[in-house]
Symmetry: C2
Subunit: 263 residues, 2 copies
Amino acid sequence: MAAPSEEEGAVGRRYHQRSTAMLDVPFLPFCAFLGTLGLLCVAMVGSWCQHWRGGFSLDGSSRTFNWHPVLMVTGLVVLYGAAALVYRIPYTWSGPKLPWKVLHGSLALGAFILTVLGLLAVFYFHNSQGTPNMYSLHSWMGLGTVLLFSCQWAAGFGAFLLPWAPTWLRVLYKPIHVFFGSTILLLSVASCVSGINEKLFFSLKNGTMQYKLLPAEAVFANTLGLLILIFGVLVVAALARPSWKRPDSDSPDSRQPLLAAER
Amino acid sequence: MAAPSEEEGAVGRRYHQRSTAMLDVPFLPFCAFLGTLGLLCVAMVGSWCQHWRGGFSLDGSSRTFNWHPVLMVTGLVVLYGAAALVYRIPYTWSGPKLPWKVLHGSLALGAFILTVLGLLAVFYFHNSQGTPNMYSLHSWMGLGTVLLFSCQWAAGFGAFLLPWAPTWLRVLYKPIHVFFGSTILLLSVASCVSGINEKLFFSLKNGTMQYKLLPAEAVFANTLGLLILIFGVLVVAALARPSWKRPDSDSPDSRQPLLAAER
Protein backbone atom coordinates (compact mmCIF):
# COMPACT_ATOMS: atom_id res chain seq x y z
CA MET A 1 0.00 0.00 0.00
CA ALA A 2 1.31 3.47 -0.94
CA ALA A 3 2.28 5.87 1.86
CA PRO A 4 -0.17 8.77 2.37
CA SER A 5 0.68 11.84 0.31
CA GLU A 6 1.17 15.19 2.02
CA GLU A 7 -2.24 16.29 0.74
CA GLU A 8 -3.94 13.20 2.20
CA GLY A 9 -2.22 13.87 5.54
CA ALA A 10 -3.47 17.47 5.53
CA VAL A 11 -7.01 16.29 4.72
CA GLY A 12 -6.83 13.83 7.64
CA ARG A 13 -5.67 16.55 10.03
CA ARG A 14 -8.41 18.92 8.83
CA TYR A 15 -11.06 16.24 9.34
CA HIS A 16 -9.64 15.54 12.77
CA GLN A 17 -9.70 19.20 13.78
CA ARG A 18 -13.22 19.66 12.43
CA SER A 19 -14.57 16.55 14.15
CA THR A 20 -12.82 17.43 17.42
CA ALA A 21 -14.43 20.87 17.28
CA MET A 22 -17.82 19.25 16.63
CA LEU A 23 -17.39 17.11 19.74
CA ASP A 24 -16.33 20.04 21.96
CA VAL A 25 -18.46 20.29 25.06
CA PRO A 26 -17.56 23.03 27.55
CA PHE A 27 -16.42 21.50 30.85
CA LEU A 28 -18.22 23.78 33.29
CA PRO A 29 -21.80 23.27 32.01
CA PHE A 30 -21.08 19.52 31.82
CA CYS A 31 -19.80 19.69 35.40
CA ALA A 32 -22.94 21.57 36.51
CA PHE A 33 -25.03 18.83 34.89
CA LEU A 34 -22.97 16.16 36.67
CA GLY A 35 -23.37 18.02 39.99
CA THR A 36 -27.15 18.15 39.50
CA LEU A 37 -27.21 14.44 38.63
CA GLY A 38 -25.11 13.61 41.71
CA LEU A 39 -27.38 15.65 43.99
CA LEU A 40 -30.41 13.96 42.41
CA CYS A 41 -28.91 10.54 43.26
CA VAL A 42 -28.35 11.63 46.88
CA ALA A 43 -31.88 13.06 47.12
CA MET A 44 -33.38 9.91 45.60
CA VAL A 45 -31.55 7.45 47.85
CA GLY A 46 -32.55 9.57 50.87
CA SER A 47 -36.19 9.73 49.71
CA TRP A 48 -36.27 5.98 49.07
CA CYS A 49 -35.11 5.20 52.62
CA GLN A 50 -37.28 7.91 54.20
CA HIS A 51 -40.50 7.36 52.26
CA TRP A 52 -40.53 3.57 51.66
CA ARG A 53 -38.07 2.07 54.15
CA GLY A 54 -39.13 3.79 57.40
CA GLY A 55 -36.54 6.59 57.74
CA PHE A 56 -33.40 6.74 59.87
CA SER A 57 -32.32 5.92 63.42
CA LEU A 58 -29.35 4.58 65.37
CA ASP A 59 -31.23 1.79 67.21
CA GLY A 60 -29.82 -1.18 65.27
CA SER A 61 -33.09 -1.75 63.36
CA SER A 62 -33.55 -1.58 59.59
CA ARG A 63 -33.73 2.19 60.09
CA THR A 64 -30.06 2.02 61.06
CA PHE A 65 -29.36 -0.01 57.91
CA ASN A 66 -30.92 2.85 55.89
CA TRP A 67 -27.84 4.98 56.57
CA HIS A 68 -25.82 2.43 54.55
CA PRO A 69 -27.16 3.17 51.04
CA VAL A 70 -27.37 6.93 51.72
CA LEU A 71 -23.77 7.18 52.97
CA MET A 72 -22.39 4.89 50.25
CA VAL A 73 -24.06 6.77 47.38
CA THR A 74 -23.14 10.15 48.90
CA GLY A 75 -19.54 9.25 49.85
CA LEU A 76 -18.28 6.49 47.60
CA VAL A 77 -20.01 7.72 44.42
CA VAL A 78 -20.95 11.43 44.44
CA LEU A 79 -18.32 13.02 46.72
CA TYR A 80 -15.68 10.63 45.31
CA GLY A 81 -16.67 11.74 41.79
CA ALA A 82 -16.33 15.41 42.83
CA ALA A 83 -12.85 14.69 44.27
CA ALA A 84 -11.80 12.93 41.08
CA LEU A 85 -12.84 15.89 38.89
CA VAL A 86 -10.93 18.61 40.80
CA TYR A 87 -7.99 18.73 38.35
CA ARG A 88 -10.34 19.04 35.37
CA ILE A 89 -11.55 22.49 36.50
CA PRO A 90 -9.70 24.99 34.27
CA TYR A 91 -9.09 27.35 37.27
CA THR A 92 -6.73 24.71 38.67
CA TRP A 93 -4.48 24.81 35.62
CA SER A 94 -2.64 28.03 36.44
CA GLY A 95 -0.90 29.07 39.64
CA PRO A 96 0.28 26.74 42.38
CA LYS A 97 -1.10 23.21 42.32
CA LEU A 98 -0.81 22.65 46.07
CA PRO A 99 -4.21 24.13 47.12
CA TRP A 100 -5.94 21.90 44.55
CA LYS A 101 -4.00 18.88 45.77
CA VAL A 102 -5.21 19.64 49.29
CA LEU A 103 -8.79 20.07 48.02
CA HIS A 104 -8.57 16.78 46.06
CA GLY A 105 -7.20 14.93 49.09
CA SER A 106 -9.73 16.52 51.47
CA LEU A 107 -12.75 15.68 49.31
CA ALA A 108 -11.47 12.13 48.95
CA LEU A 109 -10.96 11.94 52.73
CA GLY A 110 -14.53 13.22 53.24
CA ALA A 111 -15.76 10.53 50.83
CA PHE A 112 -13.76 7.91 52.73
CA ILE A 113 -15.15 8.98 56.13
CA LEU A 114 -18.75 8.77 54.84
CA THR A 115 -17.92 5.35 53.37
CA VAL A 116 -16.57 4.03 56.68
CA LEU A 117 -19.69 5.36 58.48
CA GLY A 118 -21.79 3.59 55.82
CA LEU A 119 -19.96 0.31 56.55
CA LEU A 120 -20.41 0.81 60.30
CA ALA A 121 -24.17 1.23 59.75
CA VAL A 122 -24.54 -2.13 58.01
CA PHE A 123 -22.24 -4.01 60.41
CA TYR A 124 -24.11 -2.55 63.42
CA PHE A 125 -27.45 -3.52 61.86
CA HIS A 126 -26.30 -7.08 61.11
CA ASN A 127 -24.80 -7.55 64.57
CA SER A 128 -27.97 -6.19 66.26
CA GLN A 129 -30.12 -8.59 64.22
CA GLY A 130 -27.78 -11.60 64.57
CA THR A 131 -27.25 -11.69 60.79
CA PRO A 132 -23.80 -12.81 59.57
CA ASN A 133 -21.62 -10.20 57.88
CA MET A 134 -19.73 -10.47 54.60
CA TYR A 135 -21.41 -13.39 52.87
CA SER A 136 -22.93 -11.90 49.69
CA LEU A 137 -21.03 -11.10 46.50
CA HIS A 138 -22.23 -7.50 47.01
CA SER A 139 -20.43 -7.38 50.37
CA TRP A 140 -17.24 -8.95 48.98
CA MET A 141 -17.11 -6.53 46.07
CA GLY A 142 -18.10 -3.55 48.25
CA LEU A 143 -15.49 -4.22 50.93
CA GLY A 144 -12.86 -4.90 48.25
CA THR A 145 -13.71 -1.50 46.72
CA VAL A 146 -13.38 0.27 50.08
CA LEU A 147 -10.04 -1.47 50.77
CA LEU A 148 -8.75 -0.38 47.35
CA PHE A 149 -9.99 3.16 48.11
CA SER A 150 -8.13 3.23 51.44
CA CYS A 151 -4.89 2.07 49.71
CA GLN A 152 -5.46 4.68 47.00
CA TRP A 153 -5.88 7.49 49.54
CA ALA A 154 -2.93 6.47 51.68
CA ALA A 155 -0.64 5.97 48.67
CA GLY A 156 -1.78 9.29 47.13
CA PHE A 157 -1.16 11.13 50.40
CA GLY A 158 2.25 9.50 50.83
CA ALA A 159 3.38 10.06 47.26
CA PHE A 160 1.95 13.47 46.40
CA LEU A 161 1.48 15.38 49.67
CA LEU A 162 4.27 14.20 51.96
CA PRO A 163 7.76 15.44 51.07
CA TRP A 164 9.69 12.20 51.30
CA ALA A 165 8.64 10.41 48.11
CA PRO A 166 11.35 10.71 45.42
CA THR A 167 10.32 12.23 42.10
CA TRP A 168 10.82 8.98 40.15
CA LEU A 169 8.35 7.27 42.50
CA ARG A 170 5.76 10.05 41.94
CA VAL A 171 6.18 9.82 38.18
CA LEU A 172 5.91 6.03 38.36
CA TYR A 173 2.87 6.05 40.63
CA LYS A 174 0.83 8.84 39.00
CA PRO A 175 -0.66 6.82 36.07
CA ILE A 176 -1.45 4.00 38.52
CA HIS A 177 -3.24 6.48 40.83
CA VAL A 178 -5.17 7.93 37.88
CA PHE A 179 -6.17 4.46 36.60
CA PHE A 180 -7.33 3.24 40.00
CA GLY A 181 -9.20 6.53 40.50
CA SER A 182 -11.57 5.66 37.66
CA THR A 183 -11.58 1.94 38.44
CA ILE A 184 -12.59 2.41 42.09
CA LEU A 185 -15.44 4.72 41.05
CA LEU A 186 -16.77 2.10 38.63
CA LEU A 187 -16.43 -0.64 41.26
CA SER A 188 -18.34 1.64 43.68
CA VAL A 189 -21.10 2.09 41.13
CA ALA A 190 -21.27 -1.68 40.51
CA SER A 191 -21.42 -2.26 44.27
CA CYS A 192 -24.26 0.27 44.68
CA VAL A 193 -26.25 -1.27 41.84
CA SER A 194 -25.90 -4.83 43.19
CA GLY A 195 -26.77 -3.53 46.67
CA ILE A 196 -29.96 -1.79 45.50
CA ASN A 197 -30.95 -4.94 43.58
CA GLU A 198 -30.34 -7.07 46.70
CA LYS A 199 -32.20 -4.70 49.03
CA LEU A 200 -35.27 -4.68 46.76
CA PHE A 201 -35.36 -8.51 46.73
CA PHE A 202 -35.11 -8.47 50.55
CA SER A 203 -37.76 -5.79 51.09
CA LEU A 204 -40.37 -6.40 48.38
CA LYS A 205 -41.72 -9.87 49.10
CA ASN A 206 -45.36 -9.73 50.07
CA GLY A 207 -48.71 -9.35 48.28
CA THR A 208 -49.01 -6.45 45.87
CA MET A 209 -45.62 -5.17 47.01
CA GLN A 210 -43.63 -8.03 45.41
CA TYR A 211 -40.59 -6.85 43.44
CA LYS A 212 -41.70 -8.83 40.38
CA LEU A 213 -44.99 -6.88 40.24
CA LEU A 214 -42.89 -3.70 39.89
CA PRO A 215 -44.53 -1.47 42.54
CA ALA A 216 -43.74 2.27 42.64
CA GLU A 217 -40.83 1.70 45.05
CA ALA A 218 -39.19 -0.75 42.64
CA VAL A 219 -39.50 1.66 39.69
CA PHE A 220 -38.09 4.47 41.86
CA ALA A 221 -35.12 2.46 43.17
CA ASN A 222 -34.36 0.86 39.76
CA THR A 223 -34.32 4.38 38.27
CA LEU A 224 -31.96 5.47 41.06
CA GLY A 225 -29.66 2.55 40.16
CA LEU A 226 -29.58 3.59 36.49
CA LEU A 227 -28.90 7.24 37.41
CA ILE A 228 -25.96 6.14 39.62
CA LEU A 229 -24.63 4.12 36.66
CA ILE A 230 -24.98 7.10 34.30
CA PHE A 231 -23.28 9.40 36.85
CA GLY A 232 -20.32 7.00 37.18
CA VAL A 233 -19.91 6.55 33.43
CA LEU A 234 -20.08 10.32 32.80
CA VAL A 235 -17.49 11.09 35.49
CA VAL A 236 -15.13 8.49 34.00
CA ALA A 237 -15.78 9.89 30.51
CA ALA A 238 -14.95 13.40 31.77
CA LEU A 239 -11.73 12.10 33.39
CA ALA A 240 -10.71 10.32 30.17
CA ARG A 241 -11.34 13.29 27.83
CA PRO A 242 -7.91 14.52 26.66
CA SER A 243 -8.89 18.18 26.15
CA TRP A 244 -10.15 18.44 29.75
CA LYS A 245 -6.89 17.27 31.30
CA ARG A 246 -4.56 19.72 33.05
CA PRO A 247 -2.06 20.52 30.28
CA ASP A 248 1.07 21.04 32.37
CA SER A 249 0.90 17.89 34.42
CA ASP A 250 4.69 17.60 34.42
CA SER A 251 5.50 21.06 35.76
CA PRO A 252 7.82 21.16 38.80
CA ASP A 253 4.91 22.56 40.82
CA SER A 254 2.97 19.36 40.23
CA ARG A 255 5.56 17.62 42.35
CA GLN A 256 5.27 20.14 45.21
CA PRO A 257 4.58 18.24 48.43
CA LEU A 258 2.48 19.51 51.36
CA LEU A 259 5.48 19.78 53.65
CA ALA A 260 8.69 20.91 52.00
CA ALA A 261 11.62 18.67 52.90
CA GLU A 262 14.79 20.27 54.15
CA ARG A 263 17.18 20.75 51.26
CA MET B 1 7.37 30.38 40.83
CA ALA B 2 10.47 30.14 38.64
CA ALA B 3 10.18 28.31 35.32
CA PRO B 4 11.91 24.93 35.24
CA SER B 5 15.49 25.11 34.06
CA GLU B 6 16.61 23.02 31.11
CA GLU B 7 18.41 20.72 33.52
CA GLU B 8 15.22 20.21 35.59
CA GLY B 9 13.29 19.43 32.40
CA ALA B 10 15.89 16.84 31.40
CA VAL B 11 15.73 15.29 34.88
CA GLY B 12 11.93 15.09 34.63
CA ARG B 13 12.15 13.41 31.22
CA ARG B 14 14.77 10.95 32.46
CA TYR B 15 12.59 10.07 35.47
CA HIS B 16 9.63 9.64 33.16
CA GLN B 17 11.53 7.35 30.78
CA ARG B 18 12.96 5.30 33.64
CA SER B 19 9.59 4.92 35.40
CA THR B 20 7.83 4.06 32.14
CA ALA B 21 10.44 1.38 31.50
CA MET B 22 9.89 0.03 35.02
CA LEU B 23 6.15 -0.27 34.31
CA ASP B 24 6.65 -2.02 30.96
CA VAL B 25 4.76 -5.29 30.82
CA PRO B 26 4.94 -7.24 27.54
CA PHE B 27 1.49 -7.43 25.92
CA LEU B 28 1.48 -11.06 24.80
CA PRO B 29 2.16 -12.71 28.21
CA PHE B 30 -0.42 -10.33 29.73
CA CYS B 31 -2.84 -11.36 26.99
CA ALA B 32 -2.16 -15.06 27.67
CA PHE B 33 -2.90 -14.42 31.35
CA LEU B 34 -6.13 -12.62 30.41
CA GLY B 35 -7.11 -15.51 28.11
CA THR B 36 -6.52 -18.01 30.92
CA LEU B 37 -8.55 -15.87 33.32
CA GLY B 38 -11.39 -15.58 30.79
CA LEU B 39 -11.44 -19.35 30.18
CA LEU B 40 -11.41 -19.90 33.96
CA CYS B 41 -14.49 -17.66 34.27
CA VAL B 42 -16.28 -19.65 31.53
CA ALA B 43 -15.28 -22.96 33.15
CA MET B 44 -16.41 -21.77 36.57
CA VAL B 45 -19.82 -20.46 35.47
CA GLY B 46 -20.37 -23.75 33.59
CA SER B 47 -19.31 -25.82 36.62
CA TRP B 48 -21.54 -23.78 38.94
CA CYS B 49 -24.60 -24.44 36.78
CA GLN B 50 -23.67 -28.09 36.13
CA HIS B 51 -22.59 -29.09 39.61
CA TRP B 52 -24.90 -27.05 41.89
CA ARG B 53 -27.81 -25.87 39.72
CA GLY B 54 -28.79 -29.12 37.98
CA GLY B 55 -27.16 -28.77 34.55
CA PHE B 56 -28.65 -27.71 31.23
CA SER B 57 -31.77 -28.41 29.16
CA LEU B 58 -34.21 -26.67 26.83
CA ASP B 59 -37.41 -27.65 28.69
CA GLY B 60 -38.23 -24.23 30.20
CA SER B 61 -37.16 -25.30 33.71
CA SER B 62 -34.39 -23.75 35.81
CA ARG B 63 -32.03 -25.93 33.72
CA THR B 64 -32.98 -23.73 30.76
CA PHE B 65 -32.26 -20.66 32.87
CA ASN B 66 -28.74 -22.05 33.47
CA TRP B 67 -27.82 -21.21 29.87
CA HIS B 68 -28.32 -17.52 30.78
CA PRO B 69 -25.28 -17.01 33.07
CA VAL B 70 -23.07 -19.27 30.93
CA LEU B 71 -23.90 -17.47 27.66
CA MET B 72 -23.68 -14.00 29.21
CA VAL B 73 -20.28 -14.57 30.82
CA THR B 74 -18.96 -16.29 27.66
CA GLY B 75 -20.40 -13.80 25.16
CA LEU B 76 -20.86 -10.43 26.81
CA VAL B 77 -17.68 -10.59 28.93
CA VAL B 78 -15.01 -13.01 27.66
CA LEU B 79 -15.59 -13.06 23.87
CA TYR B 80 -16.42 -9.33 23.96
CA GLY B 81 -13.12 -8.73 25.81
CA ALA B 82 -11.25 -10.74 23.15
CA ALA B 83 -12.89 -8.68 20.38
CA ALA B 84 -11.96 -5.43 22.12
CA LEU B 85 -8.28 -6.43 22.39
CA VAL B 86 -7.75 -7.34 18.70
CA TYR B 87 -6.07 -4.03 17.79
CA ARG B 88 -3.67 -4.29 20.74
CA ILE B 89 -1.96 -7.38 19.23
CA PRO B 90 1.31 -6.08 17.73
CA TYR B 91 0.87 -8.31 14.61
CA THR B 92 -2.10 -6.11 13.65
CA TRP B 93 0.04 -2.97 13.50
CA SER B 94 1.68 -3.60 10.15
CA GLY B 95 0.12 -4.54 6.82
CA PRO B 96 -3.51 -4.01 5.86
CA LYS B 97 -5.94 -3.30 8.69
CA LEU B 98 -8.96 -4.79 6.93
CA PRO B 99 -8.51 -8.46 8.04
CA TRP B 100 -8.23 -7.29 11.66
CA LYS B 101 -11.31 -5.11 11.26
CA VAL B 102 -13.18 -8.17 10.00
CA LEU B 103 -11.85 -10.27 12.91
CA HIS B 104 -12.83 -7.55 15.42
CA GLY B 105 -16.33 -7.27 13.94
CA SER B 106 -16.75 -11.07 13.72
CA LEU B 107 -15.71 -11.71 17.32
CA ALA B 108 -18.06 -8.93 18.44
CA LEU B 109 -20.85 -10.45 16.33
CA GLY B 110 -20.17 -13.84 17.93
CA ALA B 111 -20.34 -12.22 21.37
CA PHE B 112 -23.62 -10.53 20.38
CA ILE B 113 -25.18 -13.81 19.15
CA LEU B 114 -24.28 -15.61 22.40
CA THR B 115 -25.73 -12.64 24.31
CA VAL B 116 -29.04 -12.77 22.44
CA LEU B 117 -29.22 -16.56 23.05
CA GLY B 118 -28.55 -15.84 26.74
CA LEU B 119 -31.46 -13.37 26.80
CA LEU B 120 -33.72 -15.89 25.03
CA ALA B 121 -32.87 -18.49 27.72
CA VAL B 122 -34.03 -16.26 30.57
CA PHE B 123 -37.16 -14.99 28.75
CA TYR B 124 -38.15 -18.56 27.82
CA PHE B 125 -37.59 -19.70 31.43
CA HIS B 126 -39.66 -16.80 32.85
CA ASN B 127 -42.48 -17.31 30.34
CA SER B 128 -42.56 -21.07 31.03
CA GLN B 129 -42.77 -20.42 34.79
CA GLY B 130 -45.26 -17.52 34.55
CA THR B 131 -42.70 -15.14 36.07
CA PRO B 132 -42.80 -11.52 34.84
CA ASN B 133 -39.83 -10.32 32.77
CA MET B 134 -37.79 -7.14 33.21
CA TYR B 135 -38.61 -6.07 36.74
CA SER B 136 -35.26 -6.18 38.59
CA LEU B 137 -32.53 -3.57 38.41
CA HIS B 138 -30.27 -6.37 37.13
CA SER B 139 -32.61 -6.89 34.16
CA TRP B 140 -32.88 -3.16 33.44
CA MET B 141 -29.12 -2.69 33.51
CA GLY B 142 -28.48 -5.91 31.59
CA LEU B 143 -30.94 -5.13 28.80
CA GLY B 144 -29.64 -1.55 28.63
CA THR B 145 -26.13 -2.96 28.20
CA VAL B 146 -27.24 -5.30 25.40
CA LEU B 147 -29.09 -2.46 23.63
CA LEU B 148 -25.96 -0.28 23.85
CA PHE B 149 -23.93 -3.22 22.48
CA SER B 150 -26.29 -3.65 19.52
CA CYS B 151 -26.04 0.08 18.70
CA GLN B 152 -22.25 -0.13 19.06
CA TRP B 153 -22.00 -3.08 16.67
CA ALA B 154 -24.37 -1.60 14.08
CA ALA B 155 -22.70 1.83 14.20
CA GLY B 156 -19.23 0.27 14.03
CA PHE B 157 -20.22 -1.87 11.04
CA GLY B 158 -21.83 1.10 9.27
CA ALA B 159 -18.98 3.51 9.95
CA PHE B 160 -15.87 1.33 9.61
CA LEU B 161 -16.77 -1.62 7.34
CA LEU B 162 -19.34 -0.25 4.88
CA PRO B 163 -17.97 2.10 2.23
CA TRP B 164 -20.53 4.88 2.46
CA ALA B 165 -19.54 6.65 5.68
CA PRO B 166 -17.56 9.84 4.93
CA THR B 167 -14.09 10.12 6.48
CA TRP B 168 -15.07 13.01 8.76
CA LEU B 169 -17.82 10.84 10.26
CA ARG B 170 -15.35 7.97 10.89
CA VAL B 171 -12.89 10.36 12.57
CA LEU B 172 -15.73 11.84 14.64
CA TYR B 173 -17.17 8.48 15.65
CA LYS B 174 -13.96 6.56 16.41
CA PRO B 175 -13.29 7.96 19.93
CA ILE B 176 -16.98 7.45 20.76
CA HIS B 177 -16.75 3.80 19.59
CA VAL B 178 -13.58 3.29 21.65
CA PHE B 179 -15.11 4.89 24.77
CA PHE B 180 -18.32 2.86 24.56
CA GLY B 181 -16.24 -0.28 23.90
CA SER B 182 -14.77 -0.08 27.41
CA THR B 183 -17.97 1.25 28.98
CA ILE B 184 -20.14 -1.59 27.64
CA LEU B 185 -17.66 -4.18 28.95
CA LEU B 186 -17.77 -2.62 32.43
CA LEU B 187 -21.59 -2.47 32.31
CA SER B 188 -21.58 -6.17 31.29
CA VAL B 189 -19.37 -7.02 34.24
CA ALA B 190 -21.61 -5.02 36.63
CA SER B 191 -24.66 -6.82 35.18
CA CYS B 192 -23.03 -10.25 35.66
CA VAL B 193 -22.06 -9.47 39.25
CA SER B 194 -25.56 -8.25 40.18
CA GLY B 195 -27.04 -11.29 38.41
CA ILE B 196 -24.83 -13.78 40.30
CA ASN B 197 -25.70 -12.01 43.58
CA GLU B 198 -29.43 -12.18 42.72
CA LYS B 199 -29.29 -15.85 41.64
CA LEU B 200 -27.57 -16.85 44.91
CA PHE B 201 -30.28 -15.11 46.98
CA PHE B 202 -32.93 -16.95 44.91
CA SER B 203 -31.27 -20.36 45.09
CA LEU B 204 -29.73 -20.54 48.57
CA LYS B 205 -32.66 -20.24 50.97
CA ASN B 206 -33.08 -23.41 52.97
CA GLY B 207 -31.43 -25.03 56.00
CA THR B 208 -27.68 -25.34 55.87
CA MET B 209 -27.69 -24.13 52.27
CA GLN B 210 -28.69 -20.56 53.15
CA TYR B 211 -26.57 -17.91 51.39
CA LYS B 212 -25.82 -16.17 54.68
CA LEU B 213 -24.20 -19.36 56.03
CA LEU B 214 -21.78 -19.19 53.08
CA PRO B 215 -21.96 -22.79 51.80
CA ALA B 216 -19.39 -24.01 49.24
CA GLU B 217 -21.60 -22.94 46.31
CA ALA B 218 -21.72 -19.35 47.62
CA VAL B 219 -17.93 -19.19 48.05
CA PHE B 220 -17.50 -20.62 44.53
CA ALA B 221 -19.95 -18.23 42.85
CA ASN B 222 -18.76 -15.18 44.83
CA THR B 223 -15.21 -16.02 43.69
CA LEU B 224 -16.47 -16.30 40.11
CA GLY B 225 -18.01 -12.81 40.47
CA LEU B 226 -14.71 -11.35 41.68
CA LEU B 227 -12.77 -13.05 38.84
CA ILE B 228 -15.22 -11.59 36.29
CA LEU B 229 -14.66 -8.15 37.86
CA ILE B 230 -10.86 -8.57 37.70
CA PHE B 231 -11.07 -9.76 34.07
CA GLY B 232 -13.12 -6.69 33.07
CA VAL B 233 -10.85 -4.23 34.87
CA LEU B 234 -7.71 -5.81 33.34
CA VAL B 235 -9.15 -5.71 29.79
CA VAL B 236 -10.06 -2.03 30.23
CA ALA B 237 -6.58 -1.36 31.67
CA ALA B 238 -5.00 -3.06 28.64
CA LEU B 239 -7.18 -1.00 26.27
CA ALA B 240 -6.24 2.24 28.05
CA ARG B 241 -2.46 1.60 28.11
CA PRO B 242 -0.91 4.10 25.64
CA SER B 243 2.10 1.95 24.65
CA TRP B 244 -0.18 -0.96 23.66
CA LYS B 245 -2.24 1.11 21.21
CA ARG B 246 -1.80 0.71 17.45
CA PRO B 247 0.64 3.54 16.68
CA ASP B 248 -0.56 4.46 13.16
CA SER B 249 -4.24 4.78 13.94
CA ASP B 250 -4.61 7.63 11.45
CA SER B 251 -3.13 5.90 8.42
CA PRO B 252 -5.30 5.92 5.26
CA ASP B 253 -5.57 2.12 5.60
CA SER B 254 -7.37 2.54 8.91
CA ARG B 255 -10.22 4.06 6.95
CA GLN B 256 -10.38 1.20 4.43
CA PRO B 257 -13.98 -0.08 4.29
CA LEU B 258 -15.04 -3.70 3.67
CA LEU B 259 -16.56 -2.90 0.26
CA ALA B 260 -14.71 -0.31 -1.76
CA ALA B 261 -17.04 2.41 -3.08
CA GLU B 262 -16.88 3.30 -6.79
CA ARG B 263 -14.53 6.24 -7.23
